[in-house]
Symmetry: C2
Subunit: 615 residues, 2 copies
């Protein structure tokens, strides 16, 4: 496409952005108008993408990190013929694929959900890692960023990761329009401020007029020919570009233009420039190739093995059986045991250092390229990445998160290292799966099973060794539970998971001596939860006590309570959880102090059975 036409295309994208927002009565046309020339040059001259085959392994990848500029994205989809004008005008309407912020749930050309700023670049790094280290197909990853989002630390986690890995297949197009939502950004139009920072992180940078198609074109060529470094194209732009009443003005973020018809006229009216996007080169996907027999580790009943160890060993075995499994870790692979995988499958292991947002962002990027990521760190520190997990669930991303060092059971390190809110955080994610195994064989089975799931799957592991209570060939379906102890005489049901399963079994022994037989359930699948078994146990035994190494809000107890919200009568319920702030102490002291050890469980059951009230 000739340069004159590039300008026309940019104007068309502006016009269509204005029209889409006007039709919706909401949206972000001014943020779209600043980046319109960047988008025009990218799609007309540099992007290689087959819109009829979004799954093509050779396709370049495009991420709209500034997701609120969705009108621009949809205007581009129209320009390339992927959607028609009638659909463009459904922007933000009920049932439309053209949501306020783009998501791959709705549109096949959207790689990942954006709309929470500072996430596109970290995810783009994951895709570029896949491209460089795994797929080896030669596609480029283009990320259109806002300037304001560089205030997010996650952008610098990504900058560091990309620079360190020399991701020359990654280009950030930065729309420096100097205005954030409520006013000027910190650095305004000082392109050098961004350039100095990014260069310090190992990036190649180029500073241009973001409304000059020639300059943009040259910068994209420069990015494509720069070896050994990711490139940031720092483009000076004006928000609302092309419409005098909106251009470079504060107070217009996220608002349709006040007079769209006049604005369209000022922009030269509607156009019908059609872009023929370059096709990607022929390519094939590598990762489906290798798949073999799965030989999971087998642990002897009665042995003491930490579930985190079983995670590392099972994942390593899974890596031998499946070529599409990859592992990531946040510089604690010796603790999470991801290091076992790293040793045997170094080419599929991604060290993310102490940068949990980048850890999850990279996993989302790898997942978008068809890999099956297992991303591990301490359960407590996954909270650092919660917004990434939230956005991943919105985008329908498929990934597995592993949180080690669950609960007070870690012992002396104290509360900063204890995962005590993680079940609540993961349960609240839409469509999530939350598993919490109590022994090594169960862990191994679940690790393997998780590879076949969808959505955000979370596995919680324990630091200390726990006794193996299940044989290596037993099966543990997601959504199930295990009744470990039952009789017709049971007077209560104790529901536990992870470390508290062993405490519950010990309590049951004690209670039996007191003449109080109890049922014990291992609720390894916290979400989805086995409602039928829980209700049956509660109804048969008359009351139910949950016990968890987690805060009382949002965890196992709430998951069990949720099984009784269908309007039918509810048996008597009580729960034990971590209600105080732990300090340092040995693991057994911690369980006792928190009131979730065998002694506490036995006392709770006796109160429930003998007095009918627990408080």
């Amino acid at each position: 496409m000739h340069t004159d036409q590039l300008h026309e295309l940019g104007q068309q994208l502006r016009v269509d952005s204005v029209r889409a927002a006007a039709a919706a009565g909401s949206g972000h046309p001014t943020s779209s108008m600043s980046a319109a020339d960047l988008m025009a040059v990218l799609i007309a001259r540099h992007l290689r993408y087959d819109f009829s085959r979004p799954e093509h392994p050779g396709n370049d990848r495009f991420i709209l990190s500034k997701g609120h500029a969705s009108p621009l994205l949809y205007a581009a989809y129209k320009a390339v013929g992927a959607i028609d004008d009638a659909e463009l005008r459904t922007f933000r309407a009920l049932g439309s694929r053209l949501e306020g912020h783009p998501t791959p749930r709705a549109l096949p050309w959207v790689e990942v959900a954006t709309g929470s700023l500072g996430q596109g670049l970290p995810i783009g790094v994951g895709m570029a890692l896949a491209g460089k280290r795994l797929d080896r197909v030669g596609y480029r990853v283009w990320v259109l960023c806002g300037d304001g989002e560089f205030a997010e630390g996650a952008m610098w986690e990504a900058a560091e990761h990309a620079g360190h890995e020399h991701l020359e297949n990654l280009t950030a197009l930065v729309d420096v329009n100097r205005l954030g939502q409520r006013g000027p950004t910190r650095h305004g139009h000082d392109l050098g401020a961004y350039a100095r920072r990014l260069r310090a992180f190992g990036w190649h940078t180029t500073e241009i007029d973001g409304h000059d198609p020639d300059a943009i074109d040259r910068a994209c060529n420069e990015a494509r020919s720069t070896a050994g470094q990711p490139t940031a194209i720092l483009a000076r732009t004006l928000k609302g570009r092309g419409v005098a009443s909106a251009e470079d003005r504060e107070g217009l973020h996220g608002k349709p233009l006040s007079d769209p018809e006049a604005a369209i006229e000022e922009l030269g009216g509607r156009r019908e420039v059609r872009v023929e996007v370059q096709q990607p080169p022929a390519a094939r996907s590598l990762h489906a190739a290798r798949s073999g027999h799965l030989s999971l580790p087998r642990y002897g009943v009665g042995d003491a093995v930490a579930t985190r160890t079983a995670y590392g060993q099972a994942l390593t075995a899974l890596g031998h059986a499946r070529g599409d499994v990859v592992a990531l870790d946040g510089e604690v692979g010796d603790s999470t045991r991801a290091e076992y995988f790293a040793k045997e499958h170094p080419e599929r292991y991604f060290e993310c250092y102490i940068a949990e947002q980048q850890l999850v962002g990279a996993a989302v990027g790898l997942a978008a390229r068809g890999w099956i990521p297992y991303a591990a760190t301490f359960a407590a520190f996954l909270s650092r990445a919660h917004d990434f997990l939230r956005m991943a669930s919105i985008g329908g991303a498929s990934l597995i998160a592993i949180g080690s060092h669950a609960g007070v059971a870690i012992g002396q390190d104290g509360p900063s290292q204890m995962g005590l809110e993680d079940l609540a955080l993961f349960r609240a994610l839409h469509g999530s799966t939350v598993l919490y195994p109590c022994d090594a064989n169960q862990t191994a089975q679940l690790v393997a099973q998780l590879a076949n799931g969808s959505g955000i799957r979370y596995l919680r592991t324990t630091r200390g060794a726990t006794p193996v209570i299940y044989g290596p060939d037993e099966e543990f379906p997601v959504g199930g539970c295990r009744v470990l102890r039952a009789s017709d005489a049971d007077r209560a049901t104790v529901v536990a998971a992870g470390v508290t399963v062993h405490e519950a079994l010990a309590a049951a022994e004690t209670l039996a001596e007191f003449g109080i037989p109890v049922r014990v359930i291992d609720l390894y699948s916290v979400k989805p939860v086995d409602r039928d078994t829980l209700r049956e146990a509660a109804e048969r035994t008359g009351c139910l006590l949950t016990v968890e190494d987690h805060r009382e809000e949002g965890g196992l107890g709430d998951a069990v309570l949720g099984a009784f919200t269908d309007g039918r009568p509810v048996p008597r319920l009580a729960r034990l959880a971590v209600r105080t702030m732990p300090g340092s102490a040995a693991p057994d002291q911690q369980l006792h102090t928190a009131g979730i050890d065998a002694e506490s469980i036995a006392a709770g059951v006796r109160l429930l059975v003998e007095h009918g009230v627990v408080k």
Copy 2:
């Protein structure tokens, strides 16, 4: 203290770190040994601090950002006479103040809880902001950082904030020991890598041998005399310094030395160097000075006002009445309405740009200096800062977080902007308070009340206007609820909060027409929850339906269920919540599609009352 003695003091801190970890059988002596000389010079020559008066307003502030080096901190406390040797040897024991990672809950000289890396510097920025802009007392903030934690994006949010605000009263001592937990850091001993990055962010840097007391002393003097910039002292150190079998070796992170007696001998044996820390200058705290009459905004019953607007107006009024109230925002003050406060109290307003970790970190720092911070952004984006909130709760920090744009009710912007997990995230925090008002007068009352609370207090606000249903003089105690509609004939109870209160009231009208009178409860205090009123309502009406604009896990519904876990019989329960992934749509369409509008509530109650099962 003479230089020879500084070396001796450093060795003593190493010896005591080794002894503490040996006594505990766990801990991080090698990470303490690398930073021992930095600590020695700091406490002997530069820190101004009255250990008998930790509340002294002129005290310098010290934050151990690498909180795992707690043995070093406690060894320093011993050297200055704050604790004795017997207490040092209680390290990590049950009941000891000397936890694995330091927290102000236990020790008066600890400013904030650390142990999750990358948080000390952001919080230090908050303290330095307080020092420079509010307290104006002249104290310095010293933050001892690890090298590994610079992988955390939060460090760069802090670097940007500090550079932009020219915080010359802030010094980062960076212990570049080149080894992380599982192996080398990205940059090893390349001090220049850190220097280039920090300089690009506007910092003054100096690169030194971190085991040369003279060099450290000079660097600290340089930091104290550098105007207009924060300083980073980049110190090349060796992990395990001074013990050949441990020095600069991998695989020894977080482990006591294998032969502590030999190590102590190699370090020259025990010493009893006593440090006289410089006293701070006389100073008085400013912020208690001004306090006046509170004149909250008053809204007319029946008017339509967004609770976010009431937040902004009430906080502005509170700012007039109380000189100790400060506000922070994440570059969305026009949306959260924090901009109202900014306009009237610019000296007490902190713009944190799009950096939610820094937003909360700065709030924690301001709170540690005695200010009462209200930190606001979209509820969805507070998830970005969850680890900071978690650590704040561990440290007993007192702050108020405001999350606007709650739930599907925001409408067209779609799920990326909807707070749908925020109640779960805040409820799970230990000692938290979670409030969700439904009208403007209620919001104003709660905003004012929150200033007097403790711990992490969360207020959830709504984007759209809702009818004012309460008079301006009504009171809403934390932990209470409001029964909005009740009769002896009620056949069900509907529990709602925020936008769903209005839907529940409408549903109650409809149901009354069908001859089904229902009780309606406004559960504005989601945590703590009014157990007694909920139980009484449920028992009198026979069944209870919760309805919330939030995911079904961890929110209002779970809070209500939690009121029925005392072992007594439970009435019939059901709930309505957001179970699907919303797209874009108008607010009323969103409520309807999610099944939480008046029509859905009425249908749910009819199922519950007439069929006894809801599913």
